[in-house]
Amino acid sequence: MFESALPAFQTFLSWPAPLYMVLGTLLGLLFGILPGLGGPQALALLLPITYGMDVNLAVVLMAGTMSSIAFGGSIPAILINTPGTGQSAATCFDGFPLTQQGKAGMAIGAAATASCLGAIFGAIVLTILLPIGREVVLLFSFPEYFMLALMGLSVIAVVSKGSLWKGLIAACMGLAFSTIGYDPVTGSVRYAFGIDYLWDGIRLVPAFIGLFAIGEALDMMIKGGQIARVPYTGKISGVGEGIKSVFQNFGLFIRCSIIGTVIGIIPGVGGAVSNFLAYGHAVQSSKNPEKFGTGDIRGVIAPEAANDSKDGGALVPTLIFGIPGSIEMAVFLGALIVLGLEPGPRMMMDNPETILVLIYTLVAGNILVSTIGIFGAGYICRLTYFPNTLLAPVIFMLALMGSYLTHGMIQDVVLSLIFGVLSLAMKRFGFSKIAVVIALVLGPLAQKTFHQTLMLWGFKGFFVRPISLGLFIITVAMLVFPYLSAFIKKSKKATT
């Protein structure tokens, strides 16, 4: 893979790639800043635009977007106590008190530096781990791919917030959607109900646009109001002091970057968890924990380092195994498939240049967004005072027109709308959206490899190969663990 390092760098620098990176970074910053919107929504809206685009340019645009969302979410968290994304929630604890003390610049400076260096840390880990993919590819065949898909779905259900049962139901729902249309093995058309459009199955682009953009905009439109809850003074100073504070607490920064990267590698856990874990670690490892929550700069550095390093970590399972490390990665994975790439072990062999372009963009995008954040945070934050009832119609139009743009088919728009309503209902009733998305992405692979295994080795094929059996055991163990843990807790309670 490393022999592609220089050509990939050339691709990354050749026009118009830098422009796409800047545009992606600005879009990600915007979506990061606006609470309720985030990576999945931004990427879903980009899907139709990247469709048919040069693969490397599309990756640059999307990676640029991904790179800026986490830090974008931290700006309103620090300035107006409103996290732009769930993954910036812990930054509020000390970021906003610092703003109240007139040290907003220091908090922004520290957040920007910790985010940027954290992202570079994550990217380095990703670069080191990626070559493993090459070795993995030789060990994998149909049963392993099937078990991997099964494990991916189970992991998401198990680590999703809320009820595990509902997570599994959502995964079944997503898999059910993926059975619509041509069966990849027999060629039979299933559940098309005489509608030609459904012969190709559920298209990923309109489905993702519906699940993320339309669903969220519907929620915003119904709730009304505006995003920001507190008045904003707009005064920012002391940025240099904030930047310096990261280097003064470099040990904490490294530990929290490791936390973020490891959490990122575990599929489905996501940024919100790494953010809180890192903050918790900063408090626990401090000699004066009572200072946290009152405007301690370490309370900004810790979550921010974890927040951005997790992106590199989340790309590890996404690129090596084709199992998304987070909800953003699920949409990104879908986008790669739409672009004709095959994420998973083969991608290391077939598209090393694209992967390296992605890594370069992540690093460069983070540097860019940190710079923009430092100089423009005060102005950018005013966006959060925009009424939801004006913002939501704009998102509706971007989403529906984006859906229409992909193939110029009105059915795509209708499908987006249906998935938008489904998304709203799933949010209200606590069903995991990420499980549906991942099932939609992994469904065709699971079906194809299931039949291929049966044809080649029969049912025993899933259990006689060591890796396949190992993956199966891990999947079962993961599904059983929460129930077993609850049972043990209950038994302990009963005996005491």
Binding site: W165, C172, T186, R190, I410, S485
Partner: protein, 170 residues
């Protein structure tokens, strides 16, 4: 307490239960329709249909008859991140609020459906402009000025993006 227990034993019909019923029927239909396909093509959807409807059946029971929740721990069990804990039930909303919520959803969805119809009849720039003006004025109760300015800005952005840059010619 006794009143609560009595209340819990009752069959509850709220929006959660209705959504459960819809999903239950969805999985059931998935299983039933798959029977017509050839054995290899139906194996996965049939399995999913049976599994999904069985899971939804228990979910439905737990949501519709709250007293059964104590017997159906697995339905409310959280995943690894909350291992050993049961997920909290959402606080009961007043029926009027639920009705209002879904009425709002219906209205917005109808606006969007109207936009889709409009999109098939007129140029997309007209459809987008009209939709923005109407929804922001009539649904969001914003001023005419804001509605028109927003519509014009969005139309201009779409024209630049779709027609000039992407040359999509929708």
């Amino acid at each position: 307490m006794a009143t609560n227990m009595q209340h819990d034993n009752k069959f509850v019909l709220n929006d959660t239960v209705i959504f459960d019923i819809i999903l239950f029927i969805f999985f059931l239909v998935l299983a039933v329709l798959s029977v017509d396909y050839n054995p290899r093509a139906r194996s996965i959807p049939l399995g999913l249909g049976i599994l999904g409807s069985a899971m939804m059946f228990f979910q439905l029971l737990a949501d519709a008859i709250p007293a059964l929740r104590s017997h159906l721990h697995f339905v409310v069990q959280s995943g690894i991140l909350g291992a050993g804990n049961e997920t909290n039930q959402k606080n009961e909303e007043k029926p009027e609020r639920v009705t209002l919520y879904w009425w709002k959803v219906t209205r917005v969805v109808l606006w969007l459906a109207g936009f889709v119809v409009l999109l098939t009849q007129v140029n997309y720039l007209i459809a987008v402009g009209l939709f923005i003006i109407l929804i922001t004025k009539l649904e969001a109760k914003e001023s005419w000025l804001k509605s028109i300015v927003l519509a014009l800005c969005l139309d201009a952005s779409f024209y630049i993006l779709f027609d000039l840059i992407l040359q999509a010619h929708l």
